[in-house]
Assembly symmetry: C2
DNA sequence: TTGTATGCGTTATCAT
DNA sequence: ATGATAACGCATACAA
């Protein structure tokens, strides 16, 4: 075990532990002479300061925690990467935790973080199962404890925490306008789970975009998924069986889109011809698909940077304004003109399940 | 800030801090009476033990760190998920760190971990840039310090650390045999960066499989990528321009495959007809592709579990044997009979770049 | 069973 | 500029 303490270094350097500490932690009041001796000794012995003891005394850890809801979702791993890179640039360590879309695991991580006295926390918040907007007791305590917290991607209605979120309104308006222009009127929506504020926001923005474009809102064209591939596959089958035979679909995240596109491939649906597809999250796989899928993308690295900036502001005692990023719509060949003409009135059965 | 210490709890409960400590850390020698009082007081005050101080005293943190080389690679995020779930089941917290395929960032994380006295570390090791197999000084110190370490996925030749790795030999033998059976003789390989032991292992196993199946080893059919999508795209273009016009290709990971398949789609290459494709890593996107791509997959959750098991063994003072997982080949419609006949002797130009 | 006292490794305070 | 010493929050050896 590593038993080399600052005392060992001090002894080897022939100075007091106080002087050694000052040298090693960059305190100005040190003579070049002792600085040289201490540094040499520390290097010689391979001294590594004990962060536990250090932060026990100085109540600073230079560490933040990042809690995401699903490591395996590329959306969040991109976000994690962005946060981690920005924090790294500012000399801050990031611990990444995975809530696994489970509020119990979220609480475990929060407890561990609180107990480990990280300087701050960036998290994708999660309400309790049924009561989507109510923060868990653990989360309440975390906030009450005064630990700097920033929400990213999602927010919790009643909770006063600076949040970095994304608005899909503009992008969806553009997307729906494009679809309408191509003659689509029956547009399905495969959405996320209600407990995620992003899922609700996307759903709301979708309805608003329909309305803004003079299309009817038809809740029977909405499928409630859970942001994971399996539910996307279920949504795809649901769409194929749908009596209204929608000609276009918007999918609320990439894993669901991949699940859905797999089902449609198996069913022989010609994407872009028979069915126009738009998905949230611009992942590489969407460009690999033939035809490439139109996407609504977020500025993940911007959001990551903003989250770190907001957190450092909170740590400095300020109250940063919530920030909202605008999503971006990119049209690709997965869209084409809807089949039109009189036949539509009969309800052309185009898809077989 | 959270200033509630065990003393506050003790005072509120009307006992000494020692008794409070015993109750809160589950020590047997406590009376039901004081247990009740202390627990009530702790809950009342919202007491959260300071892990820093606790582990400063007890030198145990119930925390391990997991260092992966790229959070955004689904292979590693799946692995992270597996490790994290297994550790969670054993009551151990996992901190995930991202080396970003950069040995300097790896060192930063190692230093932070060492200094923070985690109980153990599971890592995907990375040699220094040029000298792939030489561990960095930081890594050497980490190991020398006695901190329990386990390598997963990759290993470092000279370094004596228990490693959980995967063997592609069997899967590649099967894959190459299948290709040969379909008439393929010019099989290209888009490999990973030499600094990753997995990249070297896959390359070796590929060559061995060719040999075992009586095919020539032709190094000009090997393209050196870096496990990222961009290099896969470059590899795809390289293949299209290759004078030997290979009829099949094996790609060493999913991101490169996605990059490559995107280029081939743009170039109008009929996958499965003109070019047979096999890739490492069975990610959902490969099943979405039309036709679905044949894969060589690893038992990531098995490897994750094994890594945690090996680490707990090391922490218990044992020396677990290295473990090697067998990869699995799954044939899908991305393979078909090679174009045969006399025309081949002319070097049929099938691809245009 | 409980309380008192000490130490974990470091930094901050106060002298010098 | 440096050294002696207290203090951070907790767990434990020892005494009661």
């Amino acid at each position: 075990m590593n038993a080399i303490t600052i005392k060992d270094v001090a002894k080897a350097a022939g100075v007091s532990s106080a002087t050694a500490s000052r040298v090693l932690s960059g305190h100005p009041a040190t003579s070049p002479a002792s600085r040289a001796k201490v540094e040499a000794a520390a290097k010689e012995l391979g001294f590594v300061p004990n962060a536990q003891a250090r932060s026990l005394r100085s109540t600073k850890t230079d560490t933040i925690a990042l809690l995401i809801s699903d490591v395996r979702n590329p959306y969040f791993s991109d976000l994690a990467h962005a946060v981690e890179q920005q924090a790294h640039a500012e000399g801050i360590m990031t611990f990444i935790g995975n809530a696994n879309e489970d509020s119990a695991q979220q609480d475990d991580f929060l407890a561990a973080m609180l107990s480990r006295r990280v300087d701050g926390l960036i998290m994708v918040p999660q309400g309790l199962g049924e009561d989507a907007e109510r923060p868990s007791g653990m989360l309440q305590r975390l906030i009450a404890s005064g630990t700097p917290v920033v929400f990213v991607d999602r927010s919790l209605a009643g909770v006063q925490v600076p949040s970095i979120t994304a608005s899909s309104t503009e992008a969806l308006n553009e997307a729906i306008a494009t679809l309408k222009h191509l003659g689509h009127e029956k547009i399905a929506f495969i959405g996320g789970p209600d407990h995620a504020s992003t899922a609700r926001e996307r759903h709301r923005a979708f309805d608003a975009a329909l309305e803004a474009n003079g299309l009817d809102i038809d809740e029977s064209l909405h499928f409630a998924g859970d942001f994971k591939a399996g539910s996307g596959a279920r949504g795809a089958r649901w769409l194929l069986d749908h009596p209204a035979a929608p000609t276009a679909v918007v999918i609320a995240d990439a894993p669901m889109a991949i699940g859905a596109l797999t089902v449609w491939r198996e069913a022989g649906v010609a994407i872009g011809q028979e069915l126009s597809v738009i998905t949230f999250d611009e992942v590489d796989a969407m460009l690999m698909h033939d035809p490439p899928i139109s996407t609504i993308s977020h500025d993940l690295s911007g959001m990551g940077r903003a989250a770190v900036a907001a957190l450092t502001a909170v740590m400095a005692g300020q109250s940063p304004e919530p920030e909202e990023f605008i999503s971006h719509f990119t049209q690709r060949e997965s869209l084409s003109r809807a089949r039109t003409g009189a036949a539509k009135m009969e309800g052309t059965p185009t898809h077989e399940s």
